[in-house]
């Protein structure tokens, strides 16, 4: 096998591993949301534990990237691709952390009645999952337009966060006894909002990998 085909094989392996990591991170968000809405303690516990799997996947991809840098000394689009993956997995790992954070709050709230029906938070979850899927899709398919779509999408999640915050503020004003749970739920909303930010970061690294521009500036 020629050196270049071995390199191409390693890059393909990187793509596959990144898709896998994207899938398990999406599953983490999905499970964390389901556990929260259904007050499913078992699922929440599993989601917290599941974070280790995401961390392991991050390490595996990190090793592969470093191996490629060591063996192939990539340049041009190859260099942009490998360095983007190194940045993307950090964001994916953080998303996994936030899914676990959400489940920890689910465990705290498991015995209480929710002060309101959860409507906007699951919407945030839905939108952020779409963002993560699309950003990884954009990377794998080298789809610049899709990556840019994700970046714009972040506003939707940010607006939902504002709605949730206003609702919870009203509930606190109505009855001070709601404060504790409202604080927990605002944390949950904030975690989803952060997940949206991380997905945006991923999309920005996809743009860099394709164009050499990161947030419209040339960083190398």
């Amino acid at each position: 096998m020629s050196v270049r085909s071995k390199f191409d094989e390693q890059l393909e392996m990187l793509n596959i591993s990144l898709i896998e990591m994207g899938e398990i991170v999406e599953k983490a968000i999905k499970d964390a949301t389901k556990a929260l809405v259904d007050k499913n303690v078992e699922l929440a516990k599993k989601t917290v534990e599941f974070d280790n799997e995401i961390d392991d996947k991050e390490k595996e991809i990190e090793r592969l990237c470093l191996k490629i840098i060591l063996q192939q000394q990539p340049v041009a689009n190859d260099l942009r691709l490998v360095s983007s993956v190194l940045k993307i997995i950090t964001d994916l790992e953080r998303i996994g952390d936030h899914a676990a954070d959400i489940s920890e709050i689910t465990l705290l709230l498991a015995d209480c009645r929710y002060i309101k029906e959860l409507t906007h938070i699951p919407m945030m979850a839905e939108e952020t999952m779409k963002m993560v899927t699309k950003s990884i899709d954009a990377f794998v398919k080298k789809d610049l337009e899709l990556a840019k779509e994700v970046i714009v999408y972040d506003d939707i999640v940010d607006n939902l966060f504002i709605v949730v915050k206003e609702e919870l503020t009203e509930l606190i004003k109505e009855n001070a006894a709601n404060t504790d749970q409202a604080m927990d739920l605002i944390m949950v909303a904030k975690y989803f909002e952060r997940i949206g930010d991380h997905a945006t970061n991923i999309a920005e690294w996809v743009v860099f990998s394709l164009t050499g521009l990161h947030k419209d500036s040339r960083i190398m």
Binding site: R4, F7, P74, V75, A76, N77, T211, G212, M220
Partner: protein, 251 residues
């Protein structure tokens, strides 16, 4: 940075075969300018054209203009000897003369300016220091240059060019066949030397170009495909062919 060398519409032919096609290029002073490309891209021909080493090759024809400090190097009044002093060249295979280390370096200055003994010794020491060889040979300047290692011989050849106090140094794959430590020593010297000289190098691989160059030009089959700042060319090359070459997809 002012341009040291300006090449306008250069065409180079070996009989019917064209080796360089309508090349336009500006090489700034005090920088390391790398020319990269696969075999038969016209790079060696280009380097040899810059100090007129091709002049006596049978069947060649040169069109266009090469300027050194705004003066055409092919103008009738130009002294080729003086041009080659100003524009020195180091080849891929070290070419020590069959004489002592000292005499190898002193050979050019003796021919050119007949310096006195003290001045000559100073010139030899300075040249060897600039080529990062002095510390290794200072106690054995009288031994045969041929007995040095390949890496040392190549630095000796660089010192021999430097002893003539040139303005431009051409290096045609100067590190091919050298071990990583010798390569690193030559690269370090070049990085230091660019403060005083203009360096044009055909690196032995793209990694070397990425490590040491300020600017990089990519040539393919006699055509200049792309030229730009090092980081630009190696991170986001504009032309697909440049990208394919530096990422190892061909060449």
């Amino acid at each position: 940075m002012a341009d040291k060398i300006v090449i306008n519409d250069l065409n180079f032919y070996y009989n019917q075969k064209q080796a360089i096609n309508n090349l336009n290029m500006s090489i700034p002073a005090n920088e390391i300018f790398s020319v990269i490309g696969p075999a038969n891209s016209g790079i060696t021909t280009l380097l040899r054209t810059l100090n007129r080493l091709c002049d006596l090759t049978p069947g060649i024809r040169i069109e266009g203009e090469i300027q050194l400090d705004n003066q055409s190097i092919y103008a009738p009044e130009v002294s080729v000897t003086e041009l080659r002093r100003r524009v020195g060249i180091v080849f891929d295979v070290p070419t020590p003369l069959p004489m002592s280390i000292f005499d190898n370096i002193a050979y050019g200055p003796r021919l050119a300016r007949k310096k006195n003994k003290k001045a000559l010794a100073e010139t030899v020491e300075l040249a060897l220091r600039q080529a990062a060889l002095w510390e290794e040979v200072k106690d054995r300047l009288k031994i045969q240059a041929m007995s040095l290692s390949g890496g040392q011989q190549q630095r000796l050849c660089l010192a021999r060019v430097l002893a003539l106090e040139p303005e431009v140094i051409l290096l045609d794959r100067p590190c091919s066949g050298l071990d990583p430590i010798s390569t690193a020593k030559i690269e370090e010297s070049l990085t230091e030397l660019k403060k005083q000289f203009t360096i044009i190098i055909s690196p032995h691989n793209t990694q070397q170009a990425a490590r040491i160059s300020d600017r990089v030009a990519f040539m393919l089959m006699g055509n200049l495909i792309e030229e730009g700042a090092n980081m630009e060319v190696f991170s986001s090359p504009k032309d697909r062919r440049t990208s394919d070459y530096i990422t190892g997809r061909f060449g």
